[in-house]
Symmetry: C2
Subunit: 327 residues, 2 copies
Amino acid sequence: MTVTLADIQAAARRIEGVAVKTPLLSSLELDRRTGGQVFIKPENLQHIGAFKFRGAYNRLSQLNDVQRQVGVVAFSSGNHAQGVALAARMLGMPATIVMPEDAPSIKIAGTRSLGAQIRLYNRRQESREQIAGQIAADSGQIIVPAFDDPDIIAGQGTCGLELIAQMQERGGPPDLVICPVGGGGLIAGLSTVVKELVPAAQVCGVEPESFDDHARSLSSGQRQQNTGSATSICDSLMAPMPGELTWSINSRSVDRFVTVSDRQVEQAIAFAFRYLKLVVEPGGAVALAALLQGGLTTPGRRIGLVLSGGNVDPELFCRCLDRNPEP
Amino acid sequence: MTVTLADIQAAARRIEGVAVKTPLLSSLELDRRTGGQVFIKPENLQHIGAFKFRGAYNRLSQLNDVQRQVGVVAFSSGNHAQGVALAARMLGMPATIVMPEDAPSIKIAGTRSLGAQIRLYNRRQESREQIAGQIAADSGQIIVPAFDDPDIIAGQGTCGLELIAQMQERGGPPDLVICPVGGGGLIAGLSTVVKELVPAAQVCGVEPESFDDHARSLSSGQRQQNTGSATSICDSLMAPMPGELTWSINSRSVDRFVTVSDRQVEQAIAFAFRYLKLVVEPGGAVALAALLQGGLTTPGRRIGLVLSGGNVDPELFCRCLDRNPEP
């Protein structure tokens, strides 16, 4: 099983006029600092403030009438939760979301306001897979995985289709595309598009340094896990290990994984506030953080940069601004 | 003297490929609250974080070689300052900016980083017109007014041309356009475009309640001043009275002026953070504040909404978020 460009193009037709076609932005300051031309794909401007709606709608819109009556169940720290909740509401089906108690309150409130039923769990003592599995068994609701699913990956890949087309309209294809990595669904779709349409372009995935499972997996040639005790401010990038399907794609189509520290992510959030005028959440800002820290080769290159989400609690956001007066 | 649609179209050709063509955004939450369809023109995503670059570049790009060598002088609390500074740098000419000492530090720093020479003055004890006049007399630099100038107005009007064209691409023209008002330059250009291209559409200007000079001017039929002691968090909308040229346009082409309180502006900033994922400054958020407060007729209407800038100090921004946990 894999995901093809044709699958992603079919997903693009399904979400057309439903998902936001996010714009392509640029910044004189970012170009100055990198010496390149950076084209920003702001998925924080997508419905529910993150790219996750793309995959959720692509998956849910393919359910049949009987399945739609029973609805879906998903587990997520917040953005997939909201994506599924909104897609379910649009398609008129019930949704149950299993969320950790310590998810950002903006994400819990957002999911609830979209009409989903919420089941909170304790991240250290309970298994979200088990809870969701039980709900599915009891109710007949279909489990919608957050990333390890071909329809989810194809949906997220539509972000890449738009990015390439929008960059072509602005003078040509990318030399490099940089993208946040959690479970690997977004970058699996994105890198599939890039390698098909612009084979010469490099794709770079960015992880929090304490959740560097993709970087270690690529080095070792085997899927690696994160330690259970790892912490990060990037709540949306805390998947325990690369997905099976996502990794079968990413191990071939992603050229490189780099990591950033929480400190660098905080600075990137403050940079986006000051220079981009965008609200970006920690997990959504890792690729920007990697770009700002200067470890990538950027001068003279055309760079596609994905900001994947913007659902951040005000307290954390303001702490980032306070700690980085000159980002 | 006036400004015509043809002047604005000529300005659009001058700024093409130089200014940002800002995108058109929408928000399910804003549509839900208003019962209408709101199309957001986010000029906080323009170069220097505000629409002011449009007018400044349109004006400066028309100077001849001799004038360019001597350069320009402008006075501004910050956004016009940065717009002139960036346009001058792009066109290779010197710029002097007269700014109040109490301007937001992000705006002073931004202007300085663009290479302009800065002359700070005390808002209560000195006259910025006098200081700028003296600089112009001594140096031969040309004064670039912040709003009361046909080329400045025509440049700002390009925002309106884009708005109408982008709304047409999304299903049709606006029924209502809402726009922040300080000196009246932006809304003069915008309303000229709207009344020419979509005569049936209404244009509504929004002011801080303590700087309601346009509202009172329209009621009385005469240009009215603001009191010298008035205060507002909307630093970019504190012009003492409507401009002569801008008012000769706005008194005919703007249907209505409404006002909003600082409290409502703070809520709008928090709303934009949470639901739009955009950083908007107080003066840039007044039209959104008017929309959220519910005093305008919105159900079933197509509404163009201008967010005019995003240059806000972190302290003020975070105070808005803190005071409005459920915006």
